[in-house]
């Protein structure tokens, strides 16, 4: 068991961004790419990525090496691949090409301040995604090198009327990008954010992405994250959330794409009344490797968290769920529920699941569990006995399994897209 004692990330504790970047650089140089020796990377090897991305991501980082930064010359994306049609029901769409904001293609809703991080950077960047842990060398590298992304800032009491999408379009030409975003909501502000990572050209690329979320008292962020990059691509995403009193963070994560996709969410419930709910769905086929990590730190009393992830793994795909919930010594009156369920559709598919609870006081309500199973033969027979063809019956049962999570995506157009996508994937398209 590995209890990493995370510090409550305090902006004041760290100096300027320039200094933080230097610390990130040192950390990255010292640690290099995470390997299986680290508990949190035990089941995810980045070797296929370094092979595929030869020359862009160093295989082994020797201290003193010069770390190549993200590709800075963006080849113009062909117009046919520039899908900038807004999702129905959204009030704004920010288009990011290879992680870089393209304002000309974007629609910014009123009330939302947008800062292009390739031009100027708020000094709070790098205060939430921790850089003091070996496991997180990727965040450190990102902090040292990020040269693109957006900060979204919402003033106190501002409620954006509908969802805003951050649409990331990645192409194979950009190879590796270090992008970052900062979502900062002042007290009682509310935002629904959809973040989608797509690869219109199906190319090989690495997106090392960090999102920092800072929620002041009473603020609410709904954060839908769709990872739908090409299956030749690599997606490494870290989301770090700091929550003040009575704030609410809700994440819906869908992982469909990438050869190796990793979604790592770390939440710091820093003050009483803060709560978070993380829901996730992953469908892997072929040889995909989809990793879902999370850590929820109950630093303060009367904080609550919930986590519900479901995975469907086909062919020789691998799914990983590792959720760590940590209740700190003085955090009394906390509640947490954690559940991960997996469906294996093939006997070559693998899942590693490890919900984990570390409690340092008695006054807590906690439950956690994990299941790995197959399609229910009795149910399949029952559906087929009514004339439903086998493939359709299987699909009905898989949708029945996934539906609970997909339903958490409240934007109807996006929910429908996810269902259509799943239908296509199940049909082997």
């Amino acid at each position: 068991m590995m209890l990493h004692i995370a510090k409550d990330p305090q902006p004041a504790a760290l100096a300027t961004l320039v200094e933080r970047r230097a610390v990130g650089q040192q950390r990255w140089l010292a640690a290099g790419l995470p390997t299986g020796r680290l508990e949190s990377w035990k089941h995810t090897s980045l070797r296929p990525m370094t092979r595929a991305m030869d020359g862009v991501v160093p295989r082994d980082v020797v201290p003193g090496d010069v770390v190549p930064s993200g590709e800075t010359t963006d080849a113009a994306m062909p117009a046919t691949q520039l899908d900038v049609t807004p999702l129905e029901g959204t009030v704004g769409t920010l288009v990011l090409i290879n992680g870089r904001l393209n304002l000309a293609l974007s629609v910014v809703p009123e009330g939302l301040s947008v800062v292009d991080l390739s031009l100027s950077t708020p000094d709070t960047v790098g205060t939430i995604a921790p850089i003091d842990r070996l496991e997180d060398a990727l965040s450190a590298r990102n902090l040292a090198d990020f040269d693109r992304g957006v900060a979204l800032l919402l003033d106190a009491n501002v409620v954006i009327a509908g969802p805003v999408e951050l649409r990331y379009l990645h192409d194979g030409a950009a190879r590796a990008t270090e992008s970052r975003s900062l979502i900062q909501l002042a007290h009682h502000a509310e935002l629904s954010l959809v973040e989608r990572h797509l690869s219109p050209d199906g190319g090989v690329h690495l997106c090392n992405h960090v999102v920092e979320v800072d929620l002041a008292a009473g603020a609410t962020l709904r954060h839908t994250q769709v990872q739908h990059q090409s299956e030749a691509a690599f997606h490494l995403a870290k989301v770090a959330v700091r929550q003040a009193r009575d704030s609410r963070y809700e994440a819906q994560v869908a992982q469909f794409g990438a050869a190796i996709g990793r979604s790592d969410i770390e939440v710091f419930l820093a003050e009483p009344g803060a709560s978070c709910q993380l829901d996730g769905f992953y469908h892997g086929h072929g040889a995909q490797h989809l990793d879902n990590h999370s850590a929820i730190h109950h630093l303060a009393g009367n904080t609550t968290s919930g986590e519900h992830y479901k995975g469907v793994l086909d062919d020789s795909a691998t799914g990983i769920f590792r959720g760590n919930v940590l209740i700190y010594p003085n955090a009394s009156g906390c509640a947490t529920v954690q559940l991960n369920r997996n469906l294996l559709l093939s006997d070559r598919a693998t899942v590693h699941t490890k919900p984990q609870l570390e409690i340092d006081n008695d006054d807590v309500t906690a439950s956690h569990g994990a299941t790995v199973g197959q399609l229910d033969d009795d149910a399949l027979f029952y559906l087929r006995s009514r004339g439903i063809p086998t493939e359709e019956a299987r699909r009905l049962l898989i949708f029945a399994f996934a539906g609970e999570i997909v339903a958490k995506v409240t934007l109807p157009a996006l929910q429908q897209q996810l269902r259509d996508e799943l239908t296509q994937r199940l049909a082997g398209l």
């Binding site: 229910d376 033969d377 009795d378 149910a379 027979f381 029952y382 559906l383 087929r384 006995s385 009514r386 004339g387 439903i388 063809p389 086998t390 359709e392 019956a393 009905l396 049962l397 949708f399 029945a400 399994f401 539906g403 609970e404």
Partner: protein, 249 residues
């Protein structure tokens, strides 16, 4: 409609049906009675094509076709319907979605137009009345959290919707109170038609007061050992099965 010749079925390596013969002419209602463990459910599962019910011999002709050659779902599309002794719960799949998909699979197979949502709902509501089923219940997930009686009603609702050529009812009457029994019987009788056949598997002759059979068969140790008219059911009710066993010996 259905001809079964010398049917032999193994379950879990054990011979359960050992040369079963049965004929159900089109338009007739037949009943099979037999003690627990005699192989009644095995027969119904074998006819539905369930995995694990290995046919090791014999023939089954349904509507002129070799039934044993078909997959479970093909059999259903051809018009075989099994009302399960223990209907399966399918959480997450709504009864309506399930039934619409089943009905349209069957309609497509028959060369009929698939029903849209409106057409389906109209039919669904009409059939709900026939089996006196609570509409809110009928719209929930398939059998999920249903009581035993509600599950049986749901089987009959499905049968009423799918209008099979051959309906096999495996102990649909067990565990039903009198109102439910009447509703279920009404559903079955509504399906009775010169073009359809019904096979009722039951323990109790009381069902046969509501659905009067043309023939009654006794299944014992994996074979049909006696057949007769509806009065045979009364005799079985009064005398049990031992006298038949004695006749066999």
């Amino acid at each position: 409609m259905l001809q079964i010749r010398n049917l032999k079925v193994k379950v879990g390596g054990k011979d359960i049906l050992r040369g079963l013969d049965l004929d159900i002419p089109t338009g007739e209602v037949h009943a099979i009675m037999g003690p627990n463990g005699s192989g009644k459910s095995t027969l119904s599962y074998a006819l539905a094509g369930r995995d694990g019910y290995d046919v090791t011999g014999g023939e089954v002709t349904f509507d002129g076709k070799n039934l044993l050659d078909m997959e479970t779902d093909e059999r259903a599309r051809e018009g075989v319907f099994l009302a399960f002794q223990y209907p399966v719960e399918v959480p997450g799949v709504s009864n309506k979605v399930f039934l619409k998909q089943a009905l349209n699979s069957i309609r497509k197979h028959r060369g009929e137009e698939e029903l849209d949502a409106v057409g389906f709902l109209k039919l669904f509501r009409a059939k709900l009345k026939t089996v006196k089923m609570d509409p809110t219940l009928a719209g929930r997930d398939v059998n999920h959290g249903f009581s035993g009686g509600e599950k049986k009603r749901n089987e009959i609702l499905q049968m009423a919707m799918l209008e099979p050529k051959l309906a096999i009812l495996d102990e649909t009457d067990s565990g039903l109170d009198i109102d439910a029994l009447k509703a279920v019987s009404a559903g079955v009788n509504a399906l009775r038609d010169p073009t359809r056949s019904i096979l009722m598997i039951t323990h109790y002759q009381r069902l046969l007061d509501y659905i009067v059979p043309d023939r009654v068969h006794v299944l014992l140790d994996g074979r049909i050992v006696k057949s007769g008219g509806k009065e045979l059911a009364l005799e079985l009710e009064a005398r049990g099965y031992d006298w038949i066993r004695a006749e066999q010996a």
